[in-house]
């Protein structure tokens, strides 16, 4: 009985504590913004947003969530579903927020979008399409990010006495020389999304956009199980052997530092890595070089970050949310933000004279619409993407798993995808 009484008391205490937590106070125009931009270059970019929002008389309450999107997304989504929505939140475009929108948990931005003419501004238009559901706009695209880049350390190649590679095949051929000089050819963080992204880049580089269209958009079973896919899995197996076996690096930016320091030859990583090179004071073409599409196929996917605005009860907050949305897509903020972030602006009408070599390469590729591929987030549900991610991570760390096995498992997941 004594025990029971204690339990009841503690249960009541717990219940009151959780009730207290719900009733949080807030200022009228203070908006909490959650995002997972925490590396050096990313933090500098967020500051551009915060400063611009504060300059308009509102208060940006920063809610950075450390770790990758995989860590932050569950926190963000469970807060919205659980009835404690933040003022605004970063999410990638596409299906991540689809269900939240369907349930009416996200603010409808259509009116603002029509007033400011986002439809004509945003380039490529697929970015705004990804924000649109049943003709209504629910998010603000803020940048174009592409994973299709390989970053090489020119210092490392100088040290090894080989010419820096111009494409993936040269890179694989030069790997033994790098090893001789005590340099690990490929820098990879152990987080699963990195392995996954790297696979995507190798696939796009070696298979081209056509194959991607056949496998991911049309889900053509012959292409999925075909020869080219098999050779891509072989190449991915080769990449696996170029990684440091006892690699204990977790974060992508730590792997980027290895390339910046010249202890590793190259990293396959999205253009956000460029922010790190800039923070380290390195110049494209001098200390580091970039190979979009592995130097073989000039293709860029146009994923990116977008901000969603969960529905708030307070009308003043809603007004502030609309002010923030308008600020994020405005011309000066777009330029500033994207220069810091290493990404490309979503508007075609801004001046990018300050862009560096790599960004110009990227813009050149973007000019031809044939080079643009939609990002994976827009084609598969998180569920399927998660399964693919697990598979590739397992393949990367398990040398007993042959490329053929991985190809078969991969094809099965594609066939079962919803």
């Amino acid at each position: 009985m004594k025990l029971n009484r204690k339990l009841i008391v503690s249960a009541i205490a717990a219940a009151t504590a959780s009730l207290g937590g719900l009733a949080s106070s807030a200022n009228a125009t203070e908006l909490e913004v959650t995002h997972w931009w925490t590396s050096g270059g990313e933090a500098a970019a967020v500051k551009v947003f915060a400063d611009a929002f504060n300059a308009g008389g509102d208060t940006w309450k920063d809610g950075a969530i450390a770790g990758s999107g995989g860590t932050a997304r569950p926190v963000i989504i469970s807060r919205i579903i659980g009835g404690d929505p933040m003022g605004a939140t970063q999410l990638n475009h596409g299906r991540q927020a689809e269900e939240l929108v369907e349930e009416g948990l996200m603010l409808d931005l259509t009116e603002l979008a029509e007033k400011e003419g986002w439809k004509d501004l945003v380039r490529p238009s697929s970015l705004l399409d990804a924000c649109t559901l049943d003709g209504k706009v629910y998010c603000v695209p803020v940048n174009i990010h592409s994973f299709q880049w390989m970053w090489t350390s020119l210092d490392a190649y100088k040290k090894a006495g080989v010419d820096a590679p111009a494409d993936w095949n040269e890179f694989v051929a030069s790997a033994p020389k790098l090893r001789e000089a005590g340099i690990t050819p490929l820098a990879v963080g152990a987080q699963t999304w990195q392995t996954n992204g790297m696979f995507g880049v190798i696939r796009m580089g070696l298979g081209g956009i056509d194959l991607f269209r056949k496998t991911d958009v049309e889900r053509d079973p012959e292409a999925i199980r075909g020869e080219t896919m098999a050779s891509i899995f072989k190449a991915f197996g080769e990449a696996r052997s170029l990684d440091d076996e006892n690699n204990s690096i977790q974060n992508w930016n730590d792997a980027t530092s290895q390339v910046i320091n010249g202890t590793h030859g190259a990293q396959i990583m999205g253009d956000w890595a460029q922010g790190e090179f800039q923070v380290a004071g390195q110049t494209a073409g001098v200390e580091y070089d970039c190979l979009p599409g592995l130097g073989i196929a000039p293709a860029l996917d146009t994923g990116g970050d977008a901000f969603y605005f969960p529905v708030q009860d307070d009308p003043e907050k809603t007004a502030a949310q609309l002010r923030m949305a308008s600020m994020m897509i405005s011309k000066p903020v777009q330029v500033d933000f994207n220069l810091k972030k290493g990404s490309l602006p979503v508007r075609g009408d801004v001046d990018l004279a300050a862009a560096n070599e790599c960004m110009k390469k990227g813009l050149e590729i973007l000019k031809d619409p044939a080079n643009i591929v939609p990002g994976g987030d827009q084609l598969f549900s998180q569920d399927t993407l998660g399964q693919l991610e697990d598979l590739l991570a397992e393949f990367w760390t398990n040398p007993d798993m042959t490329p053929e096995d991985a190809h078969d498992a991969w094809a099965t997941l594609y066939e079962e995808a919803d």
Binding site: I77, Q191, Q382, Q387, D390, A393, T397
Partner: protein
């Protein structure tokens, strides 16, 4: 327990001729006081478990939906190599932490019980890790076990320059990193429980054993340990529930990596429920976890309680 006893004694007092009361009204205040707890158990525990099981047969994505798909989620679950790895890992983690935390915890408690000096100090040192959360434990061990900077580097600095110890990035052994961290955190607590049990043993028993010339190790093995059965059962339950729910330790220490080599079932559930928006899959996994626990628990509870009944009848 006390409730049971009073219930069993009640018929005897009624037989003496007092007015018969409705059985529901007996001990009324105690029953009223128990109502909130009963409700919490029924709604919170049983209710939610049933809800989980029902929705594990649906194709619910981020939000629960009543589209029943039969055993499809379970098919996928058992085909998933990540789930298989998770089950294997929880078995390794479970066996290791049961055996070692009980064994080492008991030995430490016995050592403490030898009337040593500075017992309080040692007790505090051993119990201290228990005050840290699993997240902190995980981070601390992530640094200690780091192959480039941690313990490995210390040993290299001492002079063994070729020493390599990097289980965190080794697919075969990464789960043992979690075992080590878990043991470091939990063993002190087991020791404290065991020590309390040892102190509860009557000193006269020790005296009697000594008079009979029984060596100390045999006294422990054949007299003290059987007398400590309730303590062992309490400890077992605490350790076992810790094994099933271990989650934060993996997230902080290895995040399931490298690859899927140190994944655990609770993390699988979490990932599909929140990160990947497939409630049906997550609930199927949690239902499998629940039924595994029940398969172990029900025969044990049956044995335990049926014995007691026999004892009272006899």
């Amino acid at each position: 327990m006390s409730n049971n006893l009073t219930n069993q004694q009640a018929p005897a007092s009624e037989a003496t001729g007092r007015q018969r009361r409705h059985p529901l009204l007996r001990n009324l205040s105690a029953k009223i006081a128990a109502i909130p707890m009963v409700l919490v158990t029924l709604v919170g525990f049983v209710g939610c478990s049933v809800w989980s099981i029902v929705y594990s047969f649906t194709s619910s994505k981020s939000l629960p939906r009543e589209t029943f798909v039969g055993l499809k989620q379970y098919d996928r679950l058992f085909d998933s190599s990540r789930w298989q790895a998770s089950v294997e890992n929880v078995a390794i983690y479970g066996v290791c932490s049961l055996v070692f935390s009980l064994g080492v915890g008991f030995l430490l408690a016995v050592a403490m019980d030898q009337k040593i000096r500075f017992e309080n100090t040692f007790r505090t040192i051993f119990l201290y890790p228990f005050a840290l959360s699993f997240i902190v434990t995980g981070l601390v061990w992530q640094w200690l076990l780091n192959g480039d900077f941690g313990i490995a580097q210390v040993i290299r600095d001492i002079g063994f320059t070729n020493f390599e110890f990097n289980i965190l990035s080794d697919r075969e052994y990464s789960i043992y990193a979690i075992v080590i961290a878990g043991l470091w955190q939990g063993t002190g607590f087991v020791m404290a429980l065991m020590l309390a049990g040892l102190r509860g043993i009557d000193q006269d028993i020790w005296k009697a054993a000594r008079v009979d010339g029984i060596p100390a190790w045999r006294t422990y093995l054949f007299i003290v340990i059987p007398m400590m059965k309730p303590v062992f059962i309490t400890t077992l339950v605490i350790i076992a529930s810790g094994i099933v729910k271990v989650f934060d330790l993996v997230v902080a220490l290895t995040d399931g990596g490298p690859g899927v080599s140190s994944e655990l079932p609770a993390k699988y559930v979490y990932d599909w429920m929140f990160g990947r928006g497939n409630l049906g899959q997550a609930l199927a996994a949690s239902t499998v976890m629940l039924s595994t626990v029940l398969i172990i628990l029900i025969p044990w509870a049956y044995l335990e309680y049926s014995q007691k009944k026999d004892a009272t009848h006899g």
